[in-house]
Amino acid sequence: MVLIQNLHFSYPKKPTLFKGLTMNLEKGKVIGLLGKNGAGKSTLMRLMAGLLKPNAGTVVFEGKHSFDRDPDFLDQMIFVSEQISVPEFLKVKDYVGVYRDFYSRFDDVRLENLLAEFQISTEEKISNMSYGQQKKLQLAISLSVGAKLILLDEPTNGLDIPSKSSFKKVVSASLEEDQILVISTHQVQDIEHLIDQVIILDEGKIKLHADLEVLEEEFVFSQSGEMPANAIYGESHVLGARFIAKSMIGISGGSTDLELLFHAVIADKLNGNYLSHPKPQMS
């Protein structure tokens, strides 16, 4: 479990980004971290990965402070940055070998399957691979090291449309009950039908932290010829309107429309915690 308590953070000579941010992330969840550019998504990911030091407060995973970068913590966590750097003069098998050496729960069978799904050969030289293929290689590795906390920052940037579909498929097939996967993205369609939980950040604050299951119980995400009177938030389009309304007996709607939800939250029409276990647990 990731526990973030009273987190304060600012970059040098910049305004404070996080001021007392508190949240917890539970095992077995795929979490979508959404927000506009500059909302603090990547910074929060880096704080969880132990690449940045909080000004105050704590970021703890399984009892270890992330910035201590303790080998036990690093063995259970992997972070894939938006801009990856893969040593191009190596073959895939040599690069994979580095991770096999260091991660105690590295799963060769899973890696083999993922590379097959992404159509990457272990004999291939990395310099012959496109950026998208290199990114897929890094994603395959991240899902094979056996980490309990997987942090993917904009994982679908640079992937073509078939690869984005493959990404969704392998992520949902690869995750186990004791793992937490956090995907930071501003491309909400890439994580639809993939995530269990959504966090929407705006100007360093968590505007919404919710299980999609709970949201779908509480709200209706639908569309009709015209905007219903009880809509909390709606957007008109040529054929009518997409809207979010409070769930009522007899009214039901489809699965969570993440883009609509995002706009509703940013417009301050919907916020708060809609979690199965909303109270943060103290370590």
């Binding site: 990965a49 132990g50 970068r69 690093l74 992997i78 972070f79 940055s81 990856i84 050496d101």
Partner: protein, 274 residues
Amino acid sequence: MNGISVNRIWKLMRLELLFHWKYYVMLTIGSFFLLATFFFYVWNKFSAYWDLWDWRDQTFLGYLMAYKILLVFLVYGNAFFDLRSKANSERYLLIPASNWEKLLSQLFIKIGLAEIILPLVFWLSANFASLIWVNFLQEIFHPENLAEFQLIGIGIIWPFPPDQNWAIYLLMLGIYLVLISIFFAGNLYFGKWNLVLTPVSLFIFYLIITSSSVGLSQLLFTKDESILSFNISINEPEIFTDVPLMVLVIIFLLFLGSALSYLVAYYRLKEREV
């Protein structure tokens, strides 16, 4: 996984060689050929002085010491390559190993290179060059004097012969260790600018120490004389035979400074943010 793991240090060293093998191979092969070329040049250019020089171990020793000082820059001043770019830093810092393990793996690989591999390259290159010169090149270049060479012994690769006064030996070793540790730690402060900024910092430090000593001496002892005419007696008191207290204190400070540089490097690595 707590504590320092020799296994992880070994894996980190393998990783360093895997990712940066070009640097290590080029430095090793390049040193061999550059040294040989350098000796050919010296033997051809300065053959007139050979009646004064004796090309044996002792003659090569001076060159080896100059070469080792160069290695402080080229080897110890070029550590932590992976921290020179943001993306590589992320990967390196998040490798499951402790900061001490990462620091020690870098240090061990540089020590192995600068104290074993490259001195061996010097020994090989010097012997190779002398054989080639004597058997082939002398006939081509016709130097003024023909050289008498002796193959140099492998013992030359440790360039501080212990038959000297032990205090001098420790003093030289201390200076060498301090230089190594400062250039090594400099990688974590200055990154790719280490080879420029560390010497500049050392020079500024030297100026501050010298000017403050001169200034204080002027204030305390030589008010009526030139600011450079002051005397500090460094030869007394003598603690051991021919070993004054001042030298002992300097040796102690050099070894302490070297150890502290590694501690500073560790904290710098530990606090590294990307």
